[in-house]
């Protein structure tokens, strides 16, 4: 059976602070240390209103859900407290699932996050999903002092353990951990969905995060890394799950797609390319030091990255490089549907978080892109499943 039968599309929105200054070339970093004067609260207010219009539109269009995330000290994100945004979206929408992807658990305490997320689930009537990130290296600089990157991974694992126990075991319970101890772990309210909302680990495919997902029976959501590395990560996850007697379904795996749809391929590239380039060149402007605070990765992983020129100078990639290595689909509805369907089948994954607003894109392009993707691409992808099912079977049933 094709994964295309089940594929779900989530409108993934970054809430950029999209006002790019005219002298943008003079700023060495847009993460951790962007000069504070670049933030204009009047523009910020207008952007929050615009973003909420997009959320309402996504709810009305045939998207399955909305996905939002959290970053700190950066023009990349206006949602450093993403649960607040999720609460606003929960009241502004009726149908869409809302995936919070998510609070870097290490920046808060796990009992508080269990409370926050359960609140959202009850408020939204069970429309929440959560993806848990370790947090980029940059988040550790932005909160320097309070969260030590050298213990980040161990703390992340323990936090997940606390949250899942808090949601699934009858409280109050006692918890005696390495980082957190609770005399009375008993968050209130409890999640609407039982045993708990669907959860994912957000990762770049490292063995560590893949293992974490398998150990806790969670899904896995990949960040922007080259496609072969994505496929390898999913394969590793399926293998590891099998070793441990678990099953990974296509609904457990998320790919992130950058898409722009127009009437023709040429028009799509012409309208989208400057904004997608800006997305990488401005919104991802991160000095290597901030990517890897001490202890965020092992010495060997650091060496692997320092030895790979593509990784060492990642933010200077060309358009051609980006399109070649990543999941960027710009084109007519047929082109984008073919590409996305191929990616889902190849990765055996049935979840697509699709980014449709890129960098400093004006609102009319966002609206056009959302409409075309929802009304022209999604039905085409689903029709492929129906077409595949209607074809006569090439092999006798029951033989693989």
């Amino acid at each position: 059976m094709s994964v295309l039968d089940q594929v779900k599309f989530y409108f993934f929105h970054h809430h950029h602070y999209a006002a790019v200054p005219a002298d943008e070339a003079s700023y060495p970093a847009t993460w951790v240390v962007p000069p504070g004067h670049l933030f204009d609260p009047v523009k910020g207010h207008a952007l929050y209103q615009r973003h909420m219009r997009s959320m309402r539109l996504a709810d009305e269009l045939p998207f399955d859900g909305i996905c939002i995330n959290e970053h700190h000290n950066t023009v990349y994100s206006m949602t450093p407290a993403v649960s607040l945004m999720a609460a606003a979206i929960a009241t502004a929408t009726k149908n869409a699932k809302i995936m919070v992807a998510g609070v870097p658990v290490n920046l808060t305490t796990p009992n508080r996050l269990a409370e926050e997320y359960a609140m959202l689930d009850v408020m939204s009537g069970g429309r929440m999903e959560f993806a848990f990130p370790l947090g980029t290296g940059m988040e550790y600089w932005s909160n320097a002092g309070s969260v030590n990157p050298t213990t980040g991974r161990a703390r992340f694992r323990e936090s997940l353990d606390v949250i899942l126990k808090a949601w699934t075991e009858e409280g109050p319970i006692r918890y005696d951990g390495d980082f957190y101890t609770y005399r009375y772990l008993n968050p209130w309210p409890k999640p609407f969905q039982k045993p708990h909302p669907k959860c994912f680990i957000v990762g770049s495919g490292s063995r560590e995060t893949v293992e974490l997902a398998v150990d806790y029976g969670l899904g896995y959501s990949l960040v922007f890394i080259p496609i072969p590395a994505q496929l390898k990560a999913f394969e590793r996850m399926r293998e590891l799950a099998e070793e441990r007697g678990r099953t990974v379904t296509p609904d457990d795996l998320i790919i992130v797609v950058i898409a722009y749809v127009a009437d023709t391929d040429e028009e799509a590239v012409r309208e989208a390319r400057p904004h997608i380039e800006r997305f990488f060149s401005w919104f991802h402007r991160v000095p290597p030091k901030f990517l890897l605070p001490p202890g965020y990765v092992s010495r060997d992983e650091f060496l692997r990255r320092a030895s790979d020129p593509a990784l060492a100078h990642g933010t200077e990639a060309s358009w051609e490089d980006m399109v070649a290595i990543g999941r960027i689909a710009c084109g007519s509805p047929d082109t984008v549907a073919d590409t996305v369907a191929h990616w889902c089948e190849e990765a055996r994954c049935a979840r697509v978080n699709v980014v449709l607003e890129h960098g400093d894109m004006p609102e009319w392009k966002t609206v056009k892109n959302m409409n075309l993707f929802a009304n022209e691409v999604i039905p085409r992808v689903r029709a492929k499943a129906a077409a595949a099912a209607a074809e006569p079977a090439l092999a006798p049933v029951g033989v693989e």
Partner: protein, 259 residues
């Protein structure tokens, strides 16, 4: 001049490398958060002492031990190592982070430390002369923060730095971050410095951009029996930058003379 002998020792499960040179009364030197320039600049001390320079766990050729993640764990590690080496009473010297470590070792083991040498020690919060948060110094400026005399890195720092070299620095930085990511000072330290009643020498470069020389007077006030030797034109690496640093230690520790 003598050279170091290197020995690998297993101390409570962690393999560490200890360098020794010379003979006589033991002088133990605790290095700082970096090991790039090596320790040959200390060899003049070996003419008067049995000089012992251990690499801390997580630095240089010594193995990592992520469970050693506080300055007090390092003090306890050195109690183990001193037992293993049969060291009882020593002259203890420490540079930068090693100065903080030497201070805590001496606070807790006062009778074992005959004399104390602190070279640009880390540890105090002095608002008028704040310690530079080394984690925030841009990579390309780091060497200039360490010393005004970049020639001390010749033969030690490949240009451009190789991935292997950078990975080793990242590893040492990780070991340092285990202790000091939260803050680059130790709030408890001034509460206990009164215990350092042994003769103490404070060595400081007057061009130190990392731990400003203005902190020397605060240390001198808190230590009951300390003298200060300010080294003109010198940055944060006094032993690498001038022979006067080792000479001052010899005068102070071997001859008991004012420096």
């Amino acid at each position: 001049m003598a050279a170091f002998d290197r020995e690998a020792l297993t101390v409570n499960g962690v393999e560490v490398t200890v360098q020794t040179a010379g003979a006589g009364e033991p002088l133990v030197f605790f290095h700082g958060a970096g090991t790039v320039t090596g320790f040959d600049a200390l060899l003049p001390l070996a003419e008067r002492f049995r000089l012992i320079v251990p690499y801390h766990p997580g630095y240089g050729p010594s193995a990592d031990d992520p469970s050693v993640d506080s300055i007090h764990d390092y003090v306890l590690h050195y109690l183990d190592l001193f037992d293993q080496l049969g060291l009882d009473e020593v002259t203890l010297a420490g540079h930068s982070m090693g100065g903080l470590l030497a201070s805590w070792f001496a606070i807790e083991q006062t009778p074992r430390v005959k004399r104390l040498v602190l070279a640009a020690p880390l540890g105090l919060r002095v608002p008028e002369h704040p310690t530079t948060d080394i984690f925030t110094v841009p990579d390309e400026e780091l060497l200039g923060y360490l010393t005004p005399d970049l020639s001390v890195f010749e033969g030690h720092v490949p240009m451009p730095p190789t991935p292997e070299f950078l990975a080793e620095r990242y590893r040492e930085s990780t070991s340092t971050a285990r202790m000091f990511w939260g803050r680059v000072y130790d709030l408890k330290l001034p509460r206990w410095l009164h215990r350092l009643t042994m003769p103490a020498l404070l060595l400081w470069g007057d061009q130190d951009r990392l731990i400003p020389p203005g902190q020397a007077a605060v240390w001198a006030e808190l230590l009951p029996n300390a003298e200060v030797r300010m080294l003109p034109g010198v940055g944060h690496l006094p032993f690498d930058e001038t022979p006067a640093a080792a000479e001052a230690v010899v005068r102070f520790a071997a001859e008991g003379l004012p420096v």
